[in-house]
């Protein structure tokens, strides 16, 4: 596959050429924050975004989606969306999270709804240009993704405003084919890109994890009865904000809804979160995590150990969204892991 060096002007023209041809979802301003949304005009693209309020996983696992349409006689039909679309400008840490969700939704119960969207997507990763206030992807090994596979195009902005555009797949070629006039990246360009990556890895460490990510599972093995869980959970609202903004959280709840004819209806799923009071309530109104400290602890185990045990990956990519989202400031994984580690000594 090819690597091009594209001037700022060529880049803008490329995006303008893409918008009428493809369904693009890209970071744009939402008041003074940023959010992924349908891109219809190139000028609205904000690749200088620091972090999107919600991660782009919402295009694979929407907040609310209809799974089946049914009638009360027992007939039903799955609703599966697979219109092709482009996720344009995904940050590396969010790509790592999406890649993790792909693994999880593909194995065991193959999730047709999720996987149809995943297959329909072309993913354009954009290296981070502006670090957000709480990002620590650099401590988690997720500041850059040049060594990973699974995405289609990689964009890196150089200091002079030009972009290095690396095509990674045939799906990616469909997009970058429109760039054919741009020059191939030379050795100097590639070195400049290395420098950007090195700098990014340094910059995306707004919180410093005092261990390697691989040490977290063993740390948690020893921390189940630590007093920290109850202490921190005192200030917990069970509001689930830390779940809902997290790119690796994937829990959902399923409900049925009847139409006015009282005969037909739809089954939909909607995001859920393990921090919510009723999350672990089962038939008979038994809640096996009815204490907020148990729910609070669960989230960290889910991030640092359970997914590790399942697929060998840490389920925190270091986006920092939970840290900013928690109104009582107790959701910082780095703070929790560091404190557990210090108090083990």
């Amino acid at each position: 596959m090819n690597i091009k060096r594209v001037t700022e002007k060529e880049f803008a023209a490329w995006v303008d050429a893409l918008t009428p041809k493809h369904t693009l979802y890209a970071p744009q301003a939402k008041e003074d924050r940023f959010a992924f949304d349908r891109l219809t005009a190139g000028e609205d693209l904000r690749l200088d975004y620091d972090v999107s309020i919600l991660p782009p996983k919402k295009y694979f696992l929407p907040q609310k989606e209809v799974l089946i349409k049914f009638d009360r006689k027992g007939n039903f039909e799955s609703v599966i969306a697979h219109e092709p679309f482009v996720l344009f400008g995904v940050h590396p840490y969010d790509f790592v999270a999406m890649d993790q969700l792909n693994t999880i939704f593909e194995q065991d119960n193959y999730d047709v709804h999720y996987m149809a969207r995943k297959e329909a997507a072309t993913v354009v990763v954009s290296d981070v240009q502006v670090a957000s206030a709480d990002v620590f992807a650099g401590c988690m090994g997720n500041a850059t993704v040049e060594d990973r596979d699974g995405y289609d195009v990689l964009l890196t902005r150089l200091d002079d405003g030009s972009y290095v555009v690396e095509t990674r797949s045939e799906k990616g070629e469909v997009l970058t084919g429109l760039l054919s006039s741009a020059v191939d990246a030379d050795e100097v360009t590639l070195q400049q890109r290395e420098q950007v990556w090195n700098r990014t890895r340094e910059q995306l460490q707004k919180h410093k994890l005092e261990m390697t990510p691989e040490q977290i599972p063993a740390l948690l093995d020893k921390s189940y009865d630590h007093p920290l869980w109850a202490e921190k959970a005192e200030l917990c609202h069970s509001c689930g904000s830390c779940n809902l903004v997290c790119p690796t959280c994937y829990c959902f709840t399923v409900e049925d809804e009847l139409n006015w004819d009282m005969e037909t209806g739809q089954r939909y799923r909607q995001w859920d979160g393990c921090m919510l009071t009723g999350f672990a309530t089962v038939t008979g109104n038994h809640n096996f995590r009815d204490k907020k400290e148990a729910r609070y602890r669960h989230r960290y185990y889910r991030k640092g150990k359970y997914v590790w045990d399942m697929i060998g990956e840490i389920a925190c990519v270091g986006c920092g969204r939970c840290i900013s989202a928690c109104t009582t400031n107790i959701a910082n994984p780095v703070e929790v892991f560091n404190q557990l580690s210090e108090e083990q000594q």
Binding site: K30, E31, D32, R33, A35, I53, L54, K58, Q63, K64, E234, L235, C236, H237, S238, C239, G240, S241, L244, V245, E255, D256, E257, L258, W260, M262, Q270, W271, G273, L276, T277, G278, K292, S324, A325, T327, T328, N329
Partner: protein, 248 residues
Amino acid sequence: MAKPKIGIFDFACCEGCQLQIVNMEEDLLNLLALVDPVEWREAMSDQSDHYDIAIVEGSITRDEDAERLRKVRESADYVIALGACATIGGVNKLQNNFAIEDVQVMVYGDAANMPHLASTPAQAIHEVVKVDYMVHGCPIDAHELTHVVRCLLAGKQPVMPDYPVCVECKMKENGCRYEYGEVCLGPVTRAGCDARCPSNGFWCFGCRGYVDDPNLEAAASVMEQYGKTLDDLKSKMALFGSAQEHKL
């Protein structure tokens, strides 16, 4: 089969919630295709001595209202409390922050002692009779009401959220009001409105009432950190949080 009979009753309130029903337009016709309204002062004048579903709006602020409500309860299979006045006492409970005699003078002046103006501290409907379902909000979202009615008619238990507004607010991808230096009651307020206020750039003032177990102390503990005082929080809570089971 005869259509289920539905009655709509109002007590102390602004009738804004009923207005939401009147304003449903197409969905009102859909609803009327399923149920037979036999008592609805705002829209018609029929009456009945049995109701499959009684929809009750407003708070109880007089002894004779409590009596009338008990009669409604006796003649109804299901009682749905409609709107904040009915579900939590709503703005009517502001009066419970004062002695009832003082309130009467404030409102009625010289006529305060007239017997027909005698009132009691405001009560939510469930504080007087058993309520089967609550449709929260000031005003309600009519879609929630019709969802509850459809569930009841289908013999299905409607699910009322016991999680805070933040859940819906995050799903709507709003910036958090706290990040804009504002106090928002979303973390302690029951969801179900699709985070109506924060989605329009306004803090949540708690019109759907508290979640079952609100962490009010946590909300209070962070005021200083956001450059706010406990009074800032309390003044926000007064409107819909007065005389509630949970208090700061």
